[in-house]
Amino acid sequence: MLMVAGAVGPLSGCGREARHQVRLSVEELASISAEGALVADDLARGRTKTTFVRVHGSELRAQAEHEAEKLNDDPVAPGLHGRIQAAIKLASDIGGAIDDLRTSPQNRAQARVAQRKLHRWADQARKLAESV
């Protein structure tokens, strides 16, 4: 009995830690998406600089990609698998929308659409993080 407890104890601790890391990654995705939405909003209203959108957008996209890689690589409990796949999909969508902003920063209509999408994905990521 003690041996079982000894073996399971650290594993469950490890599971909690892994779950915490997943939650942090998904929260980071929510933050990136919310920030992308602010950048897109300023772009749509002509209140920013092209170089800023390109460079800062590139940082945000790279960070979204990095979080997706972490989510993909970290070992987690099978119960979390579906939510991790959803988070990776969100990361890809968020990175893609930010990339579109970087590619054509003069396209205000596209920025308006991206702003709404990024705002929605930020909400989704937050809910997903809470569920982990």
């Binding site: 933050s31 209140r47 937050r126």
Partner: protein, 406 residues
């Protein structure tokens, strides 16, 4: 009239020179995570740096000895050597973070290759430092850094809830390790040792004597206090822009975005310009601080007021510091991450610098009539206790919170 002008110019330079990459990172995150609840930590940090800088300036003006001379004299060779090594390592990490920060800001402005920009940043700083006299360096970076005042205007423009701002200035506690980590980070960002090394050596560079003690008092009290308003403004903008959207400001670009949200492209450009000069000025201070400490410990000729051939090892030292920082940043390390390490490790080493200055400033045989008064000693020792607690808590909190990530 000339004195008043000199004082005003010094204070303006101090305002612009107060903020470095540490403030830009920690204050923006503090506002995003805890809204106004950490404003009091800025106040504590600013009072600490005012007390500390005033004492180092007074010791330098009265005795003609800068901080590092004092450390070696009061603490002996062994402790002096430990402090020297710790200071040099922390200076290098901080310098690398500042150089990386300059390159990031240039990139946000011009969208060029990052490696090229790092090289350009280092070369630009070396050329300015080599050719421009000491007070010119202080003024260029200090005045241009005042573009960061856009955050003060933005903080008011964003219509904060002033009663919450007032509540934030009153010390409070929040039962989380993350909150404690940011208390340490915000206080530490205001109290980084390189600022006092630079301040006290600058007093020698400017040939301060007993007649300049009022100038020292005014510069330390007004310059750093008004500089602290910039820190408060960074927190307030972050609290209004990033906290509601639950954004973690992990990039310098995010901090700049706060000014853009308030004033559009003009706000963005002013913020980036201010950051460029504030962080660039901090890089110069770091490189000089490294060279000052090394030269003062080794007994070399030092000072920017001397020609390079009159102080060759000092000149070579600050150039080597820039070269080493260049190598560190070229490895691709994240300047924001470096900043967090630099601030936390600075906090750990702070008592080693602060204590000898406090002992020296309290020593009547050394300071004569300009020794600390009763009030000065009470405040000085009270701050030493704060610094000690913060320095002991820094590393455990960094580990527990995984560097502030949660």
């Amino acid at each position: 009239m000339k004195k008043v002008l000199q004082l005003a110019l010094g204070i303006i330079a101090a305002i612009g020179g107060f903020v470095d990459i540490g403030e830009l990172v920690f204050n923006a995150q503090a506002g995003a995570f805890f809204r106004y609840r950490l404003l009091w930590a800025v106040v504590v940090g600013v009072i600490g740096i005012v007390v500390f800088a005033e004492m180092t300036g007074r010791v330098a003006a009265v005795s003609g000895r800068p901080v590092f001379d004092t450390v070696r004299m009061r603490m002996g060779l062994t402790v002096g050597l430990v402090t020297l090594i710790a200071s040099l390592v922390i200076n290098l990490i901080t310098l690398a973070a500042e150089v990386g920060g300059v390159a990031v800001v240039l990139n946000l402005l011009f969208d060029l290759n990052q490696s090229t920009l790092i090289l350009l940043a280092v070369m630009g700083l070396v050329v300015i430092v080599y050719f421009v006299p000491f007070d010119g360096i202080e003024r260029i970076f200090g005045y241009m850094g005042c573009a960061l005042l856009v955050y003060v205007v933005a903080a008011v423009h964003l219509r904060p809830e002033w009663h919450q701002v007032a509540q934030g200035v009153v010390p409070s506690w929040h039962p989380s390790a993350l909150y404690a980590y940011f208390v340490v980070g915000v206080i530490g960002a205001a109290l980084v040792p390189y600022e006092v090394y630079f301040y006290s050596s600058g007093a020698i560079e400017d040939s301060w004597g007993v007649k300049d003690l009022n100038l020292n008092r005014a510069n330390a009290a007004l310059g750093f206090s008004l500089g602290g308003i910039l820190s408060i403004a960074l927190i307030m903008v972050s609290a209004e822009v990033f906290a509601p959207a639950q954004i973690d400001p992990g990039f310098l670009g995010t901090t700049a975005l706060g000014a853009q949200r308030a004033f559009g492209e003009t706000g963005l450009l002013l913020a980036l310009l201010g950051m460029l000069f504030a962080v660039g000025g901090a890089a110069v201070e770091c490189a000089f601080s490294g060279a000052y400490t090394l030269a003062q410990f080794a007994g070399w000729e030092w000072g920017k007021y001397r020609r390079p051939r009159e102080a060759p090892r000092f000149t070579l030292a600050w150039m080597i510091f820039f070269a080493l920082a260049f190598v560190v940043v070229e490895t691709g390390v994240d300047p924001v991450l470096l900043t967090e390490y630099a601030v936390i490790f600075s906090v750990v080493a702070l008592p080693l610098t602060y204590l000898p200055v406090l002992l020296m400033a309290s020593d009547r045989t050394f300071m004569g009539d300009h020794v600390n008064g009763v009030l000065g000693n009470v405040i000085g020792w009270a701050f030493f206790v704060v610094i000690l607690v913060v320095s002991l808590a820094a590393i455990p909190l960094m580990i527990i919170t995984q560097g502030g990530s949660g």
